[in-house]
Structures are given as C-alpha cells and as structure tokens.
C-alpha cells in the first residue's frame, strides 16, 4: 500500500488538471476526441473543416482537452497538429471498471446469502 515518490509526484501533477470526464462533457470536444482517435493526428484546419465549428472554437476546445492531458499539440511547419493522448482515458476507464467489478462481487455475495437461507 505504498505510493512511490514518483506516483505521488505524478498524482500531484494530475491534480492541477481538469478532470478528464469534465473535459469530455461537451459534444464538440467528444467529437474532436473521436476524430483524433479515428484519423490520427490532425491540424486545426482539418479538424474544423466540415465540423460546423469555427477554427477559433476548435482551438479553444483543444486547449481544454490539452489541459486535461487528453490531447497534445505540436508544430509541423506552419501548422499546429493535434494528437490524442490515450493514457488518461485508459486510466479513468480502468478505475471505474474496478469499482464496477467491486459492486458485482458485493451484489453477488448478497444474492448468494439471501437465496441460500
């Protein structure tokens, strides 16, 4: 049950970011995440093309995703290209899965004890 120094530092760093799920609680941002996941790294102009959202709005939303550690922007020539960061998503997903599994186990025990007697 020991948190190593590095995991503590990492946790402290994450504490300053917006929660991942809050960052995803927006239709536009969810679509951006879905597209980056499907099509790989994309420029802001590609992301705004045909999305019905202005470049400025896309930039702002990408900023929120970056703040939550979900996306990363890097410069390629004159354009900024955005990449999806999957690790925070996986981590959040896994933590919820564990709690879900605990509930299954607990309710399974409840069922067994009540149906036996």
């Amino acid at each position: 049950m020991l948190a190593t120094r590095s995991s503590r530092a990492e946790a402290a760093a994450l504490d300053h970011t917006a929660p991942v799920f809050a960052a995803l609680g927006d239709q536009t941002r969810l679509r951006l995440v879905a597209r980056l996941g499907r099509e790989g790294p994309l420029s802001i102009s590609r992301l705004s093309d045909g999305s019905g959202v202005t470049r400025q709005a896309v930039t702002k939303h990408l900023g929120v995703l970056a703040g939550a550690g979900l996306a990363r922007g890097s410069r390629q020539g004159r354009e900024q290209v955005w990449t999806l960061e999957a690790a925070p998503l996986d981590q959040a997903r896994r933590s919820l899965d564990r709690i879900s599994q605990r509930w299954d186990e607990a309710l399974g025990r409840l069922k067994k004890s009540l149906e036996r007697g």
Binding site: L24, A92, S95, I99, S100, W103, R109, K111, S113, L114
Partner: protein, 154 residues
Amino acid sequence: MTETSTDRIEKDIVIRAPRTRVWRAITDFREFGKWFQAEMRDPFVPGALSKGKITYPGYEHLTIEVQVERMEPEHLFSWRWHPYAIDPEQDYSQEPTTLVVFELEEIAEGTRIRVTESGFDKIPLARRADAFRMNSNGWEQQLHNIARYVGDAK
C-alpha cells in the same frame, strides 16, 4: 443488466427473496457488513454518519464512512462516501463524494435491486489514478503472499 457511463455505475440484480428480507440485508448495519465486507460500528440513520472498518481481504487497515441520506422503507436507501479513499494518511473530508442509491422493486421472481453510484466526474483523476495504482500494488502483494505460502507449504 449492467450499464456504465463516465459519471455513473449502474447495477441491476434480481434476488429470489421477499422485499422485506432484502431491505433488511442492505439497511441493517450488521447484515450490510457481511456482503459489503465491512464491519460497521453505527446503525444506518438518515442524516447520520456510520463508520466502520473494511474487511475486504488486503484492505483491513482501512476505515469506511457512509453518510446516510435517505431511507424510505423497502423502497429506497441512499448514502454518500469517498469511493477512492484508500490512503489511511489522507484526509478526504473536503473532497467530493459519490452518491450510492439502492432502489428495491417487488417482482414475480422476488426482488429487483437497482444500484446506482454517481458523481465520479467530480473526482480528480489523480485520486483515481492513485487508487488504481495502490489497488494494483495490493494485489501484487497478495499474489506474492500466495506464492510464498505455496512455496513454504510444498
């Protein structure tokens, strides 16, 4: 049926037992402890805090605190807690809680229980990441113990 979104966990289970019996099993603090794997010291009372000790193997050094919200006999039981409170050194009192709701329904086969735990979106990812890491360590330790036991018993 199981449904999980980002903010909530939903569970649905049918138990072949009368609703009165199921209600007692989830709201009597002693009976609750048996299947939830916790030793509760205080009875569940709306508005009151019930404290106890986790008995889940490997987590016996941890305490559990359940803030009871509503108790509508044989129908609804709800409480709040800190789902990732796994560091005994840490004070979680200022952190957001999740809400756990049990809803009971009488059906032909017995009783249907619907459990919903919601509010995960408000909990910092750091806490979840930390909890997950600690849980993994806990299991690694357990496996290590088993390996050692088996080795010794040979």
